[in-house]
Every structure is written in structure tokens, then in C-alpha cells.
């Protein structure tokens, strides 16, 4: 049984995703625990130059092909499957990102390897694999034993520190012959960049961020008033944007923007992992939520367990009077 670890690195538009380095850091730990090699798996077209940023790995397995110039679930899954079949690692780490949701489950289906999704942590002890998955919107952690000789773990962004996985220097490159990629049934058409909005929430020092607890579009005025009094801007969780109450440019999280303001006031936001991914770097996090079990309180510095419609107006009043 191989003790090697493979990390399927993620990149978009020629830039490696932060989570790739986090996975290399975790992969390094796993490789050390099992005494195996750490492989980075790099898929694309004209991407071999990215190997120069993957110095944390012992080797880079590259699958290069013109049909891989742009990400599509089908072509990338075939390429990743070819690489993992060739490397036969003990554990393959895949990002729990948009692309990773396709890839991790797709590889599990194709290769027949068990999959642990939404991993906060993964460990190898005497060859036995355990994985900790964050489920129920971040309310509970499930620790599981994973049987078999191979496994796929989908790592949540932020689960490991990227710094340890960020090392320059090009490890030896192993070229993996690309699989047949003709007759593909998923074809890339174009990438659409997000539209610029009236405010750039990534540049604001103070964000009053509103979630589904606000109840209705009209109520957004309540948080807007506070944001104005504080000289900040209003941002939100995803459902607020999906409902059309605020533009997409205000969305914080996995499929929105990552923000690092001086103050992030989370109002009526539960703190799902996909939201936390975008705001955990804020300097000061204050959460207001009626549910004492809301996961947002696990990342906030200060919390208030009460109705936002009681607290927010009182705070607005206080800030306005500068008393």
C-alpha cells in the first residue's frame, strides 16, 4: 500500500488558489505521518510554469493538454483520474471549492475510492485514516474512520495554514499522459467577470453584514442606517443576494468576496462554512443572532444573543448621539 499523498491543486486564470497551499501544508503532515511522498497534481494547458510555486511538494504530476485550457468538470475529472490512477496515493486531497465539489465526488465515483467531504482536518495514524467533516451548516463536526487503501478528502478552505505550503522552487516534474479527451459532453464557452458595484466591500473598513434573519427587503434599511452612522457599508450573506435584496457585489463568502475589514458586524447570519470562508480574516467580528447555537459565535470575538430589531436600533441611536 502506497503512503504517498496527492494534492490536486486548483487554479483559475493562471493563479493558484490559496486553498492549494493549505492542502500542500496538510499533505506534508500526512506524508510525514505515513512516510510517503507528497505529490502536487497540476492539470491544465500551459500550466507547467506553476510548478515553480509548488516547492512544498516532492514531485509535481502534470497533465497538460489543449482540451484542458479551461476548467470543465468532465475534462478535469478525466485528467485528475488519470493522474491519481498513475500515482495511486494513500490519500488524495481535493479542495472543497466550487470546482472541488465536482472533482472530489467525480473522482470518488470514477475510481471507487471512499470520499470524505467538507474536511476540517485529516489525519493518518499507523496507516489508519480519520477525517473530521464540518456539517449541518457548521453546527456539528463528524469524525469518521475511512476504510480502504485509497481515499479522497475534500478540504475546506481555511482548514490549514497556507504559509507552510507556500514554498518556491520547482520539484521534479512527472508528466502524466493525458487521457482521451475527444467527444467531451461539457464544453467551455466563456468566463464572466463580476460586475463592479457602487461600493467595493473589500476596501471598506467597517461592514455591517446582513443575513436571512433580517426577514424582508424593507428591513435592510435598519442595518443601512447603522452602517451609515458608523461610516461603513452594508454587505450580506448569499440568500440576501439570491433573493435580489442586495446586488451580488455585496455578497461575502465562498461564491462572493473575501473581506478583511477592521469591523465585521454579522447581523442575522448563521455562520455557515461558506460564509465564514469570506470573513474570518476580519480584525474584529461582532455577531448578533437569536440562536445561541449559531456557528457565527464560534468565529466572532463578541456575540449578542438577541433579536437584531432590538439591538441594532439601540446601537444606531447610541452611535448617532456619539454619547
Amino acid at each position: 500500500m502506497s503512503a504517498d499523498i496527492a494534492v490536486v491543486v486548483e487554479h483559475l486564470e493562471g493563479v493558484l488558489a490559496e486553498v492549494s497551499f493549505e492542502m500542500l501544508a496538510k499533505g506534508r503532515e500526512l506524508a510525514a505521518a505515513g512516510g510517503g511522498m507528497l505529490w502536487a497534481v497540476l492539470i491544465g494547458h500551459g500550466v507547467t510554469r506553476l510548478a515553480g510555486e509548488l516547492g512544498a511538494a516532492d514531485g509535481v504530476a502534470v497533465v497538460e493538454q489543449e482540451a484542458l485550457a479551461h476548467y470543465t468538470p468532465e475534462a478535469y475529472e478525466k485528467a485528475a483520474a488519470a493522474a491519481l490512477q498513475a500515482l495511486a496515493p494513500r490519500v488524495a486531497l481535493v479542495a472543497s471549492s466550487s470546482m472541488g465539489l465536482d472533482q472530489a465526488a467525480g473522482l470518488s465515483g470514477t475510481l471507487g475510492w471512499p470520499l470524505c467531504a467538507y474536511c476540517k482536518d485529516v489525519a493518518l495514524t499507523d496507516g489508519a485514516l480519520t477525517a473530521v467533516s464540518q456539517i449541518y451548516g457548521g453546527k456539528l463536526l463528524a469524525t469518521a474512520e475511512v476504510p480502504g487503501e485509497h481515499a479522497i478528502c475534500a478540504m475546506l478552505p481555511g482548514a490549514a495554514a497556507a504559509a507552510a505550503g507556500r514554498k518556491s522552487g520547482t520539484p521534479p516534474v512527472r508528466e502524466i499522459p493525458p487521457p482521451a479527451l475527444d467527444g467531451l459532453r461539457v464544453r467551455f464557452k466563456r468566463l464572466i467577470q463580476p460586475e463592479g458595484g457602487d461600493v467595493d466591500i473589500t476596501r471598506e473598513g467597517i461592514l455591517v453584514s446582513v443575513g436571512r434573519g433580517i426577514g424582508s427587503q424593507d428591513n435592510i434599511a435598519v442595518v443601512k442606517e447603522l452602517a451609515e452612522a458608523l461610516g461603513g457599508a452594508v454587505s450580506s450573506s448569499r440568500p440576501i443576494v439570491d433573493q435580489g435584496w442586495l446586488p451580488k457585489t455585496r455578497q461575502v463568502g465562498k461564491s462572493g468576496l473575501s473581506v478583511k475589514p477592521k469591523l465585521y458586524l454579522a447581523v442575522g447570519i448563521s455562520g455557515a462554512p461558506e460564509h465564514i470562508e469570506g470573513m474570518r480574516g476580519a480584525e474584529l467580528i461582532v455577531a448578533i443572532n437569536t440562536d445561541p447555537g449559531a456557528p457565527i459565535f464560534d468565529v466572532a470575538h463578541y456575540g449578542v444573543v438577541s433579536d437584531l430589531f432590538d439591538v441594532i436600533p439601540a446601537l444606531t441611536e447610541k452611535v448617532k448621539s456619539r454619547a
Binding site: S97, L101, A105, L115, K189, K262, V304
Partner: protein, 257 residues
Amino acid sequence: MDIVVTVKMVPDLVEELEVNAEGTDLDRSVVKLRINEFDEHALEQALLLKNQHGARVTVVALDSGEVDETLFTCLAKGADRAVKVMGDFQGGVSTHTAAAVLAQVLGGIPHELILAGVQAADDRDGQLAVLLGSALRLPHVSVVTGVEPSGDKAVTVRQEYSGGVVGELEVDLPAVLGIQAAPQTPRYAPVSKVRQMMKTAKLETIEAPAVEVGAGSIVTSLARPEAAGRAEIIEGAPEEVAARLYAILADRGLLKR
């Protein structure tokens, strides 16, 4: 076009979640279930396609308990058929198993487009849309926020990446998609219409086929995250809380003069 929407009941996350005595699963006797919100978006996407281009929409659920009213609600919203797959699913079922069961069930249900929710909060072993695609050898795309026909035999879909970047992909039919959000807020079915459906419409039932699925992982502990970095909770009447928050902000120089 024949569209199938899969439906799953998931614990309502607004409620307190109780873990069983063994500490390995939810205490399913007290858990309050609701339809996965991403399935509501999947159904909305299906109904939009039906309204704009014509389609027959079938909703399919495994009988994991409390699913009837949800299925009637789907019919009230405009789905044409509702199918309940009968089997031993009450204690929860892994996504790999659900995919294997649904793959066989779909052998008897016309499907050019299969829409599932992008993810469910209680799942630990991956995306059903993807695994179903694998099992049926169909193309799949996850995290989809828009579907439009592209000729008769394909659809154009939008897939969301981080930072709000969106990929536009053309996908040959039949295909399986994991829906993150429909282009509009899921429609609402009035209670009266759901009641009427319960009286007049019928849920079709199918016995679950026997499936063989490779060994999955085994949960040894299910627990709240450790309280290490938990927030300092500020208590008191709204004015007291406001005064304390104000002081914290002032202390950090966050209040502009």
C-alpha cells in the same frame, strides 16, 4: 423536455440539533425536517424551464420520513409527477447509496435533465448530482446558477467560482446538474393549494432496488465544535448591550468623529 428534480428532507438548521446517546448521529426522533433549500431552487429552475420552453417535471424523493407534504407542495407549485421511493431510509442514507438507488430508479423515469440541490447540510460523502452522473455515465456540473436550452440536445449553464467569477458551459443532454440558485426566488405555494393537492393528487410509489455500494467511512463521533475561540457573549437589555458595543468600538478607535 423531461426534467427530474431530486428532493431531500434535511434537518432544519435553525432548530437546536440533538446528538444521540452514542454520540454518532443526530437523535432522529426529535429532529425537525424540511426540504433542502437548494432543492427548492432546483425545482424553481425546472419550473422556469417548463414555463418558458415546455417540459414535464417529475420530483423524486427517497422515503426518509415526512416527505409527503413536501412532495404535494412541489405538485402545487407546478411539478407534474411526484415519485416516492420506498425503502429503509429513515435512519439516514449516504449520498453514495442514494445515488446508486436513484440511478436505478431513473431507469424507469424519462429524464433529459436531472436537477439536484448543490449540497445538503447533513451529507458527508459528496455531491449527489456528481455521483449520479458517475453512476449513469452522464455529464455533470455542480454549483449551477442558471440553465438555458442550447438547441434541442444541450443546455448552457452557469457555474459559479469564487470571487463571483462565473463559467459558462455547454452541456450535452442528458445531464445532471447540482443547482445552487435559480435565476429567481423559488415560488411559493399557498397552503390552500397544497391541501387541495393532498386531496386530489396522488404520490406514485416505487420499491427501492437493492444496491451494492463500496464501504464508506464510519462516524465515530458527532459533536459541537470545541468552544476554544468562542465569542464573549454580551448580555443585558438592548440599551446596555448597545452601550457595551459602543464602548468596544470606541476603544478600538472605530468610531469616527
